[in-house]
């Protein structure tokens, strides 16, 4: 018991770190994904308010037209609150009279209310006073901010709105975030979803293929080079990996600008000046895949190189005296023994390509148009960086959550496909 507690004590820093840096973000993503949080709702609670500009969208809801008309038409309403204010400024008698005859009545225009005030037994004579008095009864729903649902409902009652519509209106007026699955139905409906998904698939498959093949090519070709030369080559190909992404992409930008290296050289051969990265979507894809591909390939090269070096030399010697030429040696001896590192690179790169978007963000930012906008970048744009100004945290989290599930599904698929168990099985005989 004691040792178990001790072990737990030793583990606790790691557990805390796992919780804060892994579990918590995932949990928050799940939570956010089921809300409609955005800049306008904030992430704390909200208030209740219906503005003039929202009347149009209110008509699209189930709220009955009469209630809407009342809300709109309720320009002036003889309410207790208004009467109290009136009593304070113009005397109890005036207020009393008005209450007796008109409590609960509404007036569409101020003129109508002013006429009533003038025709009282104890009229308000001064025109300016009448105006001020009428303003005390101005409708209390549209444009007004209520801190609690009760206040808002009370205002609805005063306005004389059909109680059947109260729930709908309260919901409509709420400005804070609410729980909802609308993000997911929205994702399912939006045509851009398909677009981002197919962009992502294209991007991942192409970059991954490039990564693995080029990484393998580099590893195998440097394996056959003499030592010093091989190391130099590896160092050069490792550069993309160790350059800061901003610098690395900046170099690409410089390379492809409309007055950059490619444009200049192509210009000598009469090609028109153009931005070689953003001219068409084909250009953009090529750039994006190469930029990410070189970074991934340099990691693959290192991993594959060490895997090749781990193959006993006697086995390579044996294949030579068995008559295998270089290509057959690669094909039959080296590649089959690289199954594990290739599996590892494939799954690792798939997941990191799915979720990382910094190079695309820096290079094309999803452009031209939305042609290189991948899923993770869309999530980022939706949740954290949006030209419209309204950052939709909830929708962005829904994007991210979809990515989490795709990642998990892919991992399982990979393990199945590469027959993970067999890879880990032990040899049965002593050596």
């Amino acid at each position: 018991m004691k040792t178990r507690l001790l072990a737990f004590g030793f583990l606790s820093p790691a557990l805390i770190a796992v919780f804060f840096f892994f579990l918590l973000p995932v949990l928050l993503t799940v939570v956010f994904a089921f809300t409609n949080m955005s800049t306008s709702t904030g992430i704390m609670g909200g208030a209740y308010q219906i503005n003039e500009t929202q009347m149009g969208s209110l008509r699209d809801t189930e709220v009955s037209p009469e209630s809407i008309e009342k809300l709109e038409g309720a320009g002036y309403l003889i309410s207790e609150a208004g009467l109290a204010a009136l009593a304070e400024e113009f005397g109890e008698d005036t207020a009393e009279e008005l209450r007796d005859d008109y409590l609960g009545e509404t007036f569409a225009a101020r003129r109508d209310l002013e006429r009533v005030l003038r025709n009282l037994d104890d009229p308000i004579r001064n025109t300016r006073d009448r105006k001020a008095a009428a303003d005390l009864f101005v409708s209390t729903v549209i444009g007004e901010r209520f801190d609690t649902a009760e206040d808002f409902r009370a205002a609805l009652v005063e306005t004389g709105i059909d109680p059947a519509d109260h729930d709908l209106l309260t919901e409509f007026a709420y400005t804070g975030w609410t729980w909802t699955t609308a993000n997911f139905s929205l994702l399912a409906e939006l045509p851009s979803t398909m677009r981002y998904a197919s962009n992502t698939a294209f991007y991942v498959v192409c970059t991954l293929t490039f990564n693995i093949l080029f990484g393998l090519f580099l590893a195998i070709s440097t394996f056959y080079l003499p030592g010093r030369l091989a190391n130099t080559f590896r160092a050069i190909w490792f550069l993309p990996r160790i350059l800061p992404p901003v610098l690395y992409v900046l170099m690409w930008n410089w390379f492809t600008w409309d007055r950059g290296f490619i444009a200049t050289v192509a210009g000598w051969f009469g090609a028109p000046q153009q931005n070689w990265m953003l001219h068409t979507s084909t250009h953009a894809w090529t750039a994006v895949i190469l930029i990410n591909g070189f970074v991934g390939a340099s990691l693959g090269m290192i991993l594959f190189s060490s895997a090749i070096k781990a193959i006993p030399t006697s086995m390579l010697y044996a294949s030579e005296v068995d008559g295998a030429n270089r290509w057959q040696q690669v094909r039959y001896i080296i590649l089959p023994q690289m199954r594990w590192p290739i599996l590892f690179m494939t799954s690792y790169q798939t997941l990191s390509l799915l979720t990382s978007f910094e190079y695309i963000l820096l290079a094309t930012d999803g452009g031209p148009g939305r042609s290189t906008e991948v899923w993770a970048l869309a999530a980022y744009h939706t949740a954290l960086n949006n030209y419209g100004g309204n950052l939709q945290y909830g929708l962005g989290a829904a994007y991210a959550l979809a990515l989490v599930f795709i990642g998990i599904a892919l991992s399982i698929l990979y393990l199945r496909f590469f027959n993970f168990k067999e890879l880990l099985s032990k040899p049965r005989i002593e050596q």
């Binding site: 006993p312 006697s314 044996a318 005296v321 008559g323 040899p427 049965r428 005989i429």
Partner: protein
């Protein structure tokens, strides 16, 4: 096919490992390359199969000069010390690999694999991977793979080093049987003299990159060219005894042996006396005290400290009543005394 090395030299950078070596292995002969660790046995083998380039000299398979032919085209079969089987292939695929890279038809390969598997007697293990085979079975697979191309020469690099004692005995006979059956020219690299003597037609004994003697096992044992050779062959090893040649051979302070016939020199020499040539069965003449007895089952090893200096080893049948500390007076088989100069040259 006859194999001929002429003035073979091999250097790794500035270090010359083998200098001007000549070696001829007759057709169908099994030759042992025997020598202590680091003497250049593997280097010679790697040069013959083409993995290492020769620094100088020429190599012939029959009349064909293969000095600059790459390993792939040399028609050699090699069994490596650790077998170097391909772990991701079954035994069948391992054995068939040399034919596969020659792009032979599948049916042909299957037939040949079956033939070789029968030869090395692993017909029922063909679908196993190397990790599922015992050491001896792996060795048979390696042997079959080396032989499937019907190579001109078969090279074996310490093929028995990884096996336990019993298996080693079995495979020794097995390899020899297969070599005899196929009549292939073979070179066996080993540092184990018993292996070399029991398996091979001739032995090339190497030291520091040179062949110091090349002879049949029997002649090399009975008639070594130098003290090194005499000391390398024989188990239990030969005893060396400093002596002074005059009228007789003076041993230590007080004892003498008769001069063997044909020995001409005078002065300081070294005598080599094998354990089986010293003991009570050879009469009397040397006095000493038993200082070590090692029972070995059928026989026992006895070390005798001679009066006046020197130690001789004897091998006696078990049951001889010799105990530690006994005083003995044993003789030496005079005709079998080997004499060397103090520099180790045979006299």
């Amino acid at each position: 096919m006859e194999l001929r090395l002429e003035k073979f030299t091999k250097a790794f950078g500035p270090v010359t490992v083998i200098q001007d070596m000549d070696l001829t292995v007759g057709s169908g002969e099994m030759m042992a390359l025997l020598g202590p660790s680091g003497c250049g046995k593997s280097t010679t083998l790697f040069a013959i199969c083409g993995i290492h380039k020769m620094t100088g000299g020429r190599l012939y398979f029959g009349d064909r000069d293969v000095t600059s032919v790459p390993a792939q085209q040399r028609s050699v079969g090699v069994v490596f010390q650790n077998y170097a089987l391909y772990p991701h292939m079954t035994a069948e695929q391992n054995i068939g690999f040399p034919l596969k890279v020659m792009r032979q038809p599948k049916a042909e390969i299957a037939k040949e694999v079956q033939r070789l598997a029968d030869l090395v007697q692993i017909g029922d293990l063909l679908d196993r991977r190397p990790a599922q085979l015992s050491g001896g079975q792996q060795q048979r697979v390696a042997l079959a793979r080396a032989m499937i191309r019907k190579p001109d020469v078969l090279l074996l690099d310490e093929p028995l080093a990884n096996l336990d004692a019993k298996l080693r005995l079995e495979m020794r006979a097995e390899i020899r049987r297969i070599q005899r059956e196929t009549g292939i020219t073979a070179i066996l690299v080993t540092h184990d003299q018993v292996e070399a003597m029991s398996m091979c037609d001739r032995i090339a004994l190497m030291r520091d990159g040179k062949i110091v003697q090349l002879d049949t096992p029997e002649r090399m044992y009975a008639d070594p060219a130098s003290q090194f050779v005499a000391g390398f062959l024989g188990n239990p090893p030969i005893s060396f005894l400093p002596a002074r040649a005059g009228e007789q051979l003076a041993i230590g302070q007080s004892q003498v042996l008769p001069r063997p016939a044909g020995l001409e020199v005078q002065g300081d020499i070294v005598l080599g006396i094998r354990p089986e040539h010293f003991g009570p069965q050879h009469g009397q003449g040397l006095h000493g005290e038993v200082i070590f007895v090692e029972p070995q089952g059928r026989e026992e090893l006895v070390d005798v400290q001679l009066d006046g200096g020197g130690i001789l080893r004897a091998i006696l049948p078990t049951g001889d009543p010799v105990k530690l500390g006994d005083r003995v007076n044993w003789g030496v088989s005079g005709g079998n005394i080997l004499a060397f100069s103090t520099e180790g040259v045979r006299l």
